[in-house]
């Protein structure tokens, strides 16, 4: 099985569809690539008008996980080993985030790679994250913000003309009888 050599952050779902007001969960996974890791800092960004992060539960990858969901539009998750001499070399789940859908629309969950880090177990605690390998997740709430179905222009025009035409026909018939 192919395995990427670069360390990266991903979501367990590349797409998610949810009803307005409902909650859904999405997990953040860490691929160490070819490295042995000590820790990870993941900053997940999203449209705060569409989604609200309500809870973060620790995954099984790291023994210690902390988080911060106090800022709208952003979730911070840190995971690390307890013993600096130990490391993790297999892909795992850092944490699972619970989101609440706030309104119809569509948006993207992504990682802020300016600040997210994957820390290698070396003397320099090197950041080995490869931003181009990070994943995203497309979230659609309700109908995706489209309030009506696409309309056929031909059908619309026929209806626009036919309704006044039908009424006129009825009036014409009445006038024909009266006059």
């Amino acid at each position: 099985m192919f395995r990427a050599e670069a360390a990266s952050l991903n979501f367990d779902k590349s797409t998610a569809t949810v009803a307005n007001g409902a909650t859904f969960q999405i997990s953040v996974t860490v691929d160490p690539g070819s490295d042995a890791l000590n820790s990870t800092d993941a900053y997940v960004t999203f449209d705060s008008t569409l989604l609200k992060a309500t809870e973060v539960s620790a995954g099984s990858m790291f023994p210690t996980v902390s988080n911060d969901i106090s800022t709208s539009g952003k979730v911070y998750i840190a995971g690390m080993v307890d013993d600096p001499a130990s490391s993790i070399s297999t892909t795992g789940t850092l944490a699972t985030i619970t989101f609440q859908a706030l309104k119809d629309g569509s948006g993207t969950l992504s990682f802020d790679c300016n600040t997210s880090k994957i820390i290698k177990n070396d003397i320099n605690a090197s950041n080995v994250i490869t931003c181009s390998e990070n994943g995203t997740s497309a979230v659609t709430i309700g109908s995706g913000g489209i309030s009506e179905l696409p309309q056929s222009g031909v059908f619309d025009n026929v209806v626009n003309i036919a309704i006044p035409g039908m009424i006129l026909l009825i009036f014409g018939g009445i006038f024909r009888l009266l006059l």
Binding site: N38, S39, T40, D41, Y43, T45, D47, S48, T49, S66, N67, D68, S70, T71, G73, K74, Y76, A78, G79, M80, P84, G105, G107, T108, D112, N114, T115, K117, I119, I123, N124, A125, N127, G145, I146, S147, N160, I163, P164, I167, L168, F171, G172, F175, R176, L179
Partner: protein
């Protein structure tokens, strides 16, 4: 009124009048209104160092132009749409990093903005920021910028703490796990 020609002329005149009233009334009720062109659900997303994506919706098919610039009074750059649509998406590219931009949306001869001021966003750069996701209450444009919303969560690049245990309590508040392990692994001098 016994003249049959007069009756026919009268019927035609009345028919035309009724038809005109019906058509005018129908389109007044069900036809396209100016408000249908007003952008709603204006959202700026996919904010990168050099590009962003602007999306909005209109009640009818329309073809808009995003007018943007680095000051609210000089929206000198234009990003037109290629086709008429109800769900609009435009990528603004070739932007400068870490720069606040202002924009409005022009549909035909009408300019729409965020309640009298341009919408704003800030591209990514040394200092992270989030997009404003304005609620569309379009009016005629004036010249006051919308305040930029700054992040509360730190980017983990300002850690000045030297106590490893304290660094651990400051994750996401100025320190990162990288700072923690650097602290743990730094060489210690033996007398």
């Amino acid at each position: 009124m016994n003249n049959p020609i007069l009756k026919k002329i009268l019927a035609i005149v009345v028919g035309i009048a009724v038809f005109a009233i019906l058509v005018f009334g129908y389109f007044a009720i069900f036809g396209t209104r100016a408000a249908d062109f007003e952008p709603r659900d204006v959202i700026v997303s996919n904010i990168e160092k050099n590009s962003v994506r602007a999306t909005w919706a209109t009640g009818v098919d329309s073809q808009g132009v995003v007018e943007y610039g680095t000051t609210p009074t000089a929206l000198n750059f234009f990003a037109p749409e290629a086709t008429k649509v109800k769900t609009h998406t435009i990528d603004l590219t070739l932007l400068s990093p870490n720069t606040t931009y202002y924009f409005d949306i022009r549909v035909g001869d009408t300019k729409y903005d965020n309640g009298g001021v341009p919408w704003t966003f800030t591209t990514k750069g040394a200092e992270a920021s989030v997009a404003t996701t304005p609620t569309a209450t379009p009016t005629q444009a004036t010249s006051q910028p919308t305040p930029i919303q700054r992040l509360k969560i730190s980017d983990g690049t300002n850690c000045t703490e030297t106590d490893c245990a304290k660094i651990k309590t400051l994750f996401g508040k100025g320190c990162s796990t990288q700072d923690y392990f650097l602290c743990l692994k730094k060489p210690t001098t033996t007398p």
